[in-house]
């Protein structure tokens, strides 16, 4: 929750029951989010410090760096501090992390970057990912102000993030004391206001203003005003010291004695002392009462330790190591946060265990904040992928319920679409979805494809009676009443006025077993490109044949044949032949059988297997044998399935869901005000989900998937075989054209200029200009060279360099395209020239 509006900040401060969490953030921020400059300085400083330190003192680099950071790269001070800290007690050096934790009380107060204080690496990373902006601001200018601000912001963060289950956190989390005893106001808890030895006490009250002035770029001398204020404060101090609240006084003296005693004692005896509970209470109070002042006032305090530690008395240094020596609130703190008159007792008891949570926490020992990639890297890489790092990776098990809401917060920050990171393949299998099938309706012009499909949709109640009546009325007014059903599919004014389907119409319906997508292809020969686009999306085909006299025959010469060959060469194996308009031949069995027989022979020569062809007699206009059995007495001879049953029994090929995404754009349009760029098309392979980054070829532009629609319903993902609509962002529509391929940026399609292709010739093939079709993709190119004529079955070369490839022959040719296109080996292409389909081919090798 980076830069916050003021009111937000203030709003949240009030509820911070678990501020300790925020401290956690603070510490790691300091450590990691350094600028390059800082790092360089740090490196140099470390080297110097090492030199300065004698070899007897074993200090790790991290420790040196850490102290350097605190002393703002002042090597001298650092060395002094380190000597101080590590020289006298060899014990501390042996277990540096733990001990240091204990010693560096000021660290916590000054929001030290703690190797050792980063007790939960998991948490740390998640928070980093979300706090990128805070880190930037804080790490570049680790001034007092920013520190203070951080603290406030972190309070907000932890607040809003965890407020939901605060109570549970406190009760159940593994480090309850840690969480509880570390509110923001605790920044100052260990500043030895009250319980420092008297010789130091004097310094404390006077000095605080000095470093501030210097750090902020002012002179090292306090201004007159500051001096005045300091003087006044001192007076107050003294006054209070003399006649302040009794407990404050007591504790100080107590603490003093404790320090003296414990100096000589072993480490373990220390934390039993009572006093530390008092500051805790003092912190508790301000949270409820005085929070707004915190924003401004606390800033100077964190610096105090620095000035204080600068001349650390060498012998007394170990005394500082006792974390439990928390003084009662200082005058400053009490001024700041209000005096604590009443304290809940249970909190006191809780507090006694304070120092242990850190050292006992399991993650504490091995905590290494630099082991993971830096939080900035995480954010960047996450943004690059358009996905957030998987929660499982970045958070620890016990932080889950905290991290989840935090992630939700982060979404607001990232403008991109958020991915749910679903495993789409699994989701698809889990969903237990009905099987899906796309079928293309093909056949000669005016054989009744659109009408048959209109009838199907009407009978399945996909189209309601009212809109059908409306269409019927409209059709009658222009004297084409028989077109009413076709108009369900043919919607453009041109299609209606001319009574011809021009482009593919897509529609959906559902049976008990299957969800179908109808692709109603145009039959007119001029629109075969559109038909190819439709056929390329289909799993199987419905070939509609007009049974009436002459119509069948003319169709066989025309598009009935061409369409059948085309769908076969596009890889469609299953064919339902709907012998339409049976009512016009009064359901004559002879006619049906004649047609079945002729078509059967033709289709088997076109390498359809006989068992994958089904012949269904029907009448689209009247609707007989489409969804319901025929009732005409003349049709008693027919006992087979209806059209819908035949559709339902179609086998569907396995889809390539696991492969990288390939989607052929069928249409680019404006999906409404909220979705200015939308595309639709069939997913040939792979899957796509909301939030994915996709790459459009050949434009080579990326886009983010904002939303996915399937059959006009929003969904989270789509898999191969489906024909979704993708709403995109971050792309200009000029980069998208129908026929382009959308793919996975990591597995992009290559652009090729020429390729070898094994073709089945439908016409004579010479080296010549052709149009190359691949789904919606339509490109100019030419057959550059005829490489060889091949044996149809074995694929052996019959003749090298043929002069011409005759219809029906299989040949290998080299095709050169006018511009580079995204085509992959294994793609099925259709070559056309002058309105005729010349050949259908399988792309072998790109050259």
């Amino acid at each position: 929750m980076p830069p916050k509006s003021g009111h937000h900040r203030a709003k949240n401060v009030g509820f911070d029951d678990d501020d300790g969490y925020s401290d956690d953030y603070l510490e790691e921020e300091e450590g990691d989010g350094m600028t390059d400059e800082d790092r360089e300085q740090l490196r140099i400083g470390t080297a110097k410090a090492r030199e300065a330190l004698d070899s007897s003192i074993t200090v790790s680099d991290a420790q040196i760096q850490e102290s350097l950071w605190h002393y703002f790269y002042d090597v001298e001070k650092t060395v002094a501090y380190l000597k101080n800290k590590f020289a006298p007690t060899p014990k501390t050096t042996s277990t540096p992390s733990k001990k240091q934790k204990a010693t560096s009380r000021f660290d916590q107060a000054a929001s030290a970057a703690g190797v050792e204080t980063n007790s939960t690496p998991g948490k740390q990373t998640t928070s980093h990912a979300q706090l990128g902006e805070i880190q930037e601001s804080t790490c570049t200018a680790p001034s007092l102000k920013s520190l203070a601000r951080q603290c406030v912001e972190n309070v907000n963060l932890s607040d809003s993030g965890t407020s939901v289950d605060e109570s549970s956190v406190r009760d159940k989390s593994l480090y309850p004391a840690f969480v509880d005893t570390f509110p923001t106001s605790n920044f100052f808890w260990d500043t030895p206001w009250g319980n420092v030895p008297p010789h130091r006490l004097g310094e404390i009250t006077v000095e605080p203003l000095l470093p501030r002035g210097r750090l902020l770029g002012g002179s090292s001398k306090p201004s007159k005003l500051a001096a005045l204020a300091a003087a006044r404060k001192r007076k107050q101090d003294e006054a209070k010291n003399v006649a302040s609240l009794p407990h404050e006084h007591d504790t100080r003296t107590e603490a003093d004695t404790a320090v003296a005693l414990l100096d000589r004692l072993s480490f373990k005896a220390k934390d039993t002392t009572g006093p530390p509970s008092i500051p805790k209470e003092a912190e508790k109070k301000p949270r409820h009462s005085r929070y707004p002042t915190r924003k401004r006032s606390p800033s100077p305090t964190p610096e105090i330790p620095k000035t204080e530690e600068r001349p650390p008395p060498k012998s007394t240094a170990p005394a500082i190591e006792f974390p439990d020596l928390r003084a009662p609130p200082s005058i400053f703190a009490s001024v700041l946060c209000g005096t604590s008159a009443h304290q809940p007792i249970n909190q006191i008891s809780e507090f006694t265990s304070f120092p242990l949570p850190y050292t006992n926490f399991p993650g504490f020992k091995d905590a290494n904040p630099f082991a993971n990639p830096s939080p900035d890297d995480l954010v960047l890489s996450a943004q690059a992928k358009g996905t957030k790092p998987k929660p499982a990776k970045t958070k620890k098990s016990n932080g889950e319920h905290l991290a989840a809401p935090m992630e939700k917060l982060a979404v607001d920050e990232i403008p991109r679409v958020k991915s749910k990171n679903l495993n789409v393949v699994e989701e698809f299998e889990k969903s237990g979805m009905k099987r899906m099938a796309n079928f293309v309706v093909i056949g000669h012009v005016d054989h009744g494809k659109s009408t048959l499909m209109g009838r199907l949709l009407c009978d399945l109640k996909v189209v309601d009676q009212r809109s059908l009546d409306k269409l019927r009325k409209e059709a009658e007014t222009i004297g084409k009443s028989s077109f009413a059903l076709a108009w369900v599919m043919d919607q453009t004014s041109e299609e209606r006025s001319r009574g011809v389907t021009v482009d593919i119409a897509t529609n959906y319906f559902e049976t008990e077993k299957t969800r179908f997508t109808i692709l109603d292809a145009p039959g007119h020969r001029d629109f075969i490109p559109n038909m190819i686009a439709g056929a390329s999306q289909a799993d199987f085909a419905v070939l509609v044949i007009d049974a009436s006299t002459n119509s069948f025959e003319s169709g066989l010469k025309g598009q009935t044949k061409e369409h059948a060959l085309l769908v076969r060469s596009m890889g469609v194996q299953r064919l339902v032949v709907a012998v339409n308009k049976m009512d016009t031949v009064s359901w004559s069995q002879e006619r049906f059988e004649e047609i079945s027989q002729q078509m059967g022979t033709f289709l088997t020569t076109a390498s359809f297997s006989a068992k994958s062809i089904t012949f269904i007699p029907c009448a689209g206009l009247t609707g007989e044998n489409v969804t319901k059995k025929v009732e005409d007495p003349n049709a008693k001879w027919y006992t087979g399935e209806t059209l819908i049953e035949a559709l339902d029994s179609s086998e569907i090929a396995k889809r390539n869901i696991g492969k990288p995404l390939r989607l052929t754009i069928g249409d680019v349009f404006r999906g409404g005000i909220t979705n200015p760029v939308s595309i639709s098309g069939r997913i040939d392979a792979g899957s796509v989900q909301v939030g994915d980054i996709i790459l459009a070829m050949p434009a080579n532009e990326t886009a983010a998937v904002k939303a996915i629609e399937l059959e006009n319903e929003p969904v989270d993902w789509a898999v191969a075989g489906q024909i979704p609509t993708l709403h995109l962002t971050d792309i200009d529509p000029v980069h998208l054209r129908s026929g382009d391929i959308v793919c996975d940026p990591k597995n992009a399609v290559k652009l090729i200029k020429s390729f070898t292709c094994k073709i089945l010739a439908f016409e004579h093939v010479l080296p010549m200009s052709v149009e190359v079709f691949r789904g919606r993709l339509q490109a100019e190119g030419k057959v550059k060279r005829l490489v060889a004529v091949l044996n149809k079955t074995s694929g052996d070369i019959i003749k090298n360099k043929p002069r011409i490839v005759k219809p029906g022959e299989v040949a290998r040719v080299i095709v050169e395209l006018d511009r580079e296109l995204p085509l992959e080996p294994g793609t099925r292409v259709v070559l056309r020239e002058g309105g005729n389909t010349v050949a259908a081919g399988l792309l072998e090798v790109s050259i």
Partner: protein, 412 residues
Amino acid sequence: MRLLKSQIDKKHGSGFATFLPEEPEDMWHAYNLIQPTDLVRAKALRRVTKTSDSGSVVSERVKVDLTIAVTSTDFDVGSGQLHVAGRVAVENDYVKLGGHHTLDLELNRRFTLEKVDGWDSVALEMLREACETERKAELWAVVMGEGIANICLITEHQTILRQRIEVPVPRKRRGGLDGHDKGMEKFFWTTLTTLLRHLDLSGASSSASTPDKTVPLLLASPGFVAQSFLAYIKAEATRTTNKPLLALLPTIIVAHSSSPHVHSLAEVLASPAITTKLSDTKYARETALMDKFNTFIRQDDGRAWYGPREVERAVEKGAVGRGGGVLLISNALFRAQNVAERKRWVTLVDRVREVEGGEVRVLSSLHESGQRLEALGNVAAILTFPLEDLDEEEEEEESVDAAVVEEEAMVI
């Protein structure tokens, strides 16, 4: 192109000719005429630097008559500009012999062409063709489909794609019909404005000064796009009362093409509906010839052959002779940089024409028919009698080659 002066020896073909190019298409002729090693003389601007005695360098542009021996030519189809690069062949005050210069031949600036090896028959034919003064056929064509249009200018010798327009037109969708109609409207609007810019109807220069010269406009498309576009033009002309556009309307011809690509122009121009309306352009003749060739080759009876070696062999066997023998050859072959290569084709042409008595058609490589021929290796022939296996021997060589290649591959 106007022929100002010509001194060409009938016998040896040596001599020179002076031309004045007047139309952009003349540049195309000049491009076909000028060969490497030819001498071209024309006015040129050349920057000359002089170093004075004091050592200061003065550079100035001087207009000089330069004669260069051509090393290469460069023709830009779109703008009709011809650049002739070569080395200075005649020394003058400013330029030394052998200095390089590139002449930019310009309209209405005369140039003189001299052939070192003499003017051969093909060159003379080209010269004649280039200087024909009769009015030349010109035709604007818009080959279009949904969302795609190619605006072409078809002249006697060139088909120039002037502009390609692509406007995304959304497909029909449920509830998204507006998109389709709007897209088509925008597409028509774009096409019309672009077309008008190219036609330059409003320009007083073209239409006013020569009112008789209204260039016919051909609209071709699969489906109904061309008709719809015509309706759109009509509506637009009446709405804006654009007089020149209204005057253009009667000359518009709508035709059917199978695809929105330029190469379907061949099919459009070959269709009888169009040939009756259009004058007998070279283009139409060439297209018809290519179609004839294609029919023969489809019959596969050995009467049609393509490819350099096959055709040469057929000519040797005397199959391209009187009584129907036709040699189709692209003028790209005569622009060969290699002199020997050019000679090879000139000899072939001469032989067919003079010895065999067959017909020779030089197709323009800039026309669609020429491009079809280019795919076939720039040369094809219709024979008077069937010949089989012209490619047999070659294939053996090839297979040997292939074997060698394979061996090499194995070694690698």
